[in-house]
Amino acid sequence: MNYPKLILIGVFLFLISACSNDEPTRLTNIKGLIPDLAFELTDENNAAVTEKNYSGYTTAVFFGFTSCPEVCPTTMHQWAAILKKLGDSAALVKVLFISVDPERDTTDKLKKYTALFGPAFIGLRGEDAVIKAMTKRYRVTFGYGDKDTQGDYEVSHSSAVFVFDQYGKARLLSTQSSAPDDLLHDLKNLLASSR
């Protein structure tokens, strides 16, 4: 290995370390990489909500859509199972399901959908431009495929769950490939540290 490469890697590690914190996490630690939780959306009961409505809770934010065949239900089921394992402290967690398909996802539809997974799950929606701005803030995106004869279309979206602590600071990133045990381990630590 040569010097420039070493220097570059050094610079890189420095930048990374400046963003990460001391306690080791099993999942990807995104402290400092992603901005704090902030939004103005409509919840599944048609009420206007902001991040302040969930302050004090550890929140898991997911960008999905209710007609999603695979990624969304799998992820939501995974989180429902994790919350069961957390026991009492699960009351301090809210899972925010933010629709990236507001055209098809009405508040009613979102309410029915999140009810499948439990009371901690809340569906949120907003105008297309609002959702676009919000996904940009978290460096994720979504896009639509062409409509078929029935008017259905595919949606590409983020498969990640961003976990924010009780102060709305970004902490963890879990993906479909994250092991449930790791997720449980990190969530327990996060909840314990926020007491």
């Binding site: 040569n2 010097y3 930048l15 460096r139 979504f142 595919e154 990640a160």
Partner: protein, 276 residues
């Protein structure tokens, strides 16, 4: 979506905008100063090449293409092809050194910069432009930003993304400047070295491109994590990206090789002409 969505920057960068305006402005001034003296076809080709280079860099960094590059692996590979290969090469062929002649004479020259800034800068420049170091950095940077863990962080963090693209652009420029810049005009001044440098950078790029294209696993899950710009299978995305790294990128390096050979040919012809 309106046309404006495609033209406006996804993330506004004052640094990029100012750099493009200043370099483009100074170059244009120099061209106007020169235009009456040099009316050769070569001059006009060079001017065209410069503006194309500058425009291509601007388009991939400061329009909708930048958005797509963040959410599609193959567009990202295309962006780096322009930032690291095509754009800087066109700038160097376009005679970017004229920018210096475009600087109004009332501005102080490089020799007026304080020694404590000038000396370290010159040393760094000489180090990175060493014929052994330069190709290693050129290929090393491509490899480094494609290490899956590093790539993940670079795509997720705005700061690292910025660092990645600037490092590619600056390194691309330094490399092509070294290989095809105006400082080198003859055989004595390192024709063989330059030829070797070009050969050395082609092979690792082809290996990398082939690896990306032929890999059966999805190597970069950050595009699943962050979502893609439109629905496309992860593996197709990776294959397109691999092909872009494999064929056009290494083709550009072969083109560089041909340009080095051509420059030598012209030099030899001129030398022969002077002898006879």
């Amino acid at each position: 979506m309106s046309a404006l969505t495609y033209l406006l920057p996804w993330e506004f960068s004052p640094v990029l905008l100012l750099s493009v305006l200043i370099i483009g402005g100074l170059y244009t001034r120099a061209v106007f100063l020169k235009v009456n003296k040099e009316r050769t076809a070569k001059f006009y080709w060079q001017v065209l090449s410069f503006y194309l280079g500058l425009l291509s860099i601007y388009i991939v960094s400061h329009t909708y293409v930048d958005y797509l590059s963040q959410y599609m692996f193959w567009v990202h590979r295309f962006q780096h092809l322009v930032l690291h290969h095509l754009g800087p090469l066109l700038l160097v062929l376009g005679g970017i050194q004229w920018v210096r002649q475009g600087v109004p004479s009332r501005f102080p020259g490089w020799h007026c910069v304080p020694v404590f800034i000038r000396l370290p800068s010159e040393l760094c420049y000489r180090f990175i432009q060493h014929p052994v170091i330069a190709p290693v950095v050129f290929v090393g940077l491509i490899y480094m930003w494609l290490i899956p863990e590093i790539h993940f962080a670079a795509m997720l963090s705005k700061k690292l993304y910025w660092l990645m693209n600037w490092s590619m652009l600056i390194d691309g420029f330094l490399f092509w400047w070294l290989v095809l810049g105006p400082e080198w005009q003859g055989e004595q001044k390192g024709f063989k070295t330059r030829l070797l440098m070009m050969v050395v950078v082609v092979v690792p790029q082809q290996l990398l491109g082939a690896y990306l294209t032929l890999s059966r696993n999805v190597l970069y899950d950050v595009y699943d994590v962050c979502g893609r710009a439109w629905p496309i299978s992860p593996l197709s995305d990776q294959i397109y990206g691999g092909v872009i790294t494999w064929i056009p990128a290494s083709m550009m390096s072969v083109l560089g090789l041909v340009l080095v050979l051509r420059r030598r040919l012209i030099y030899l012809k001129r030398a022969e002409h002077e002898l006879s």
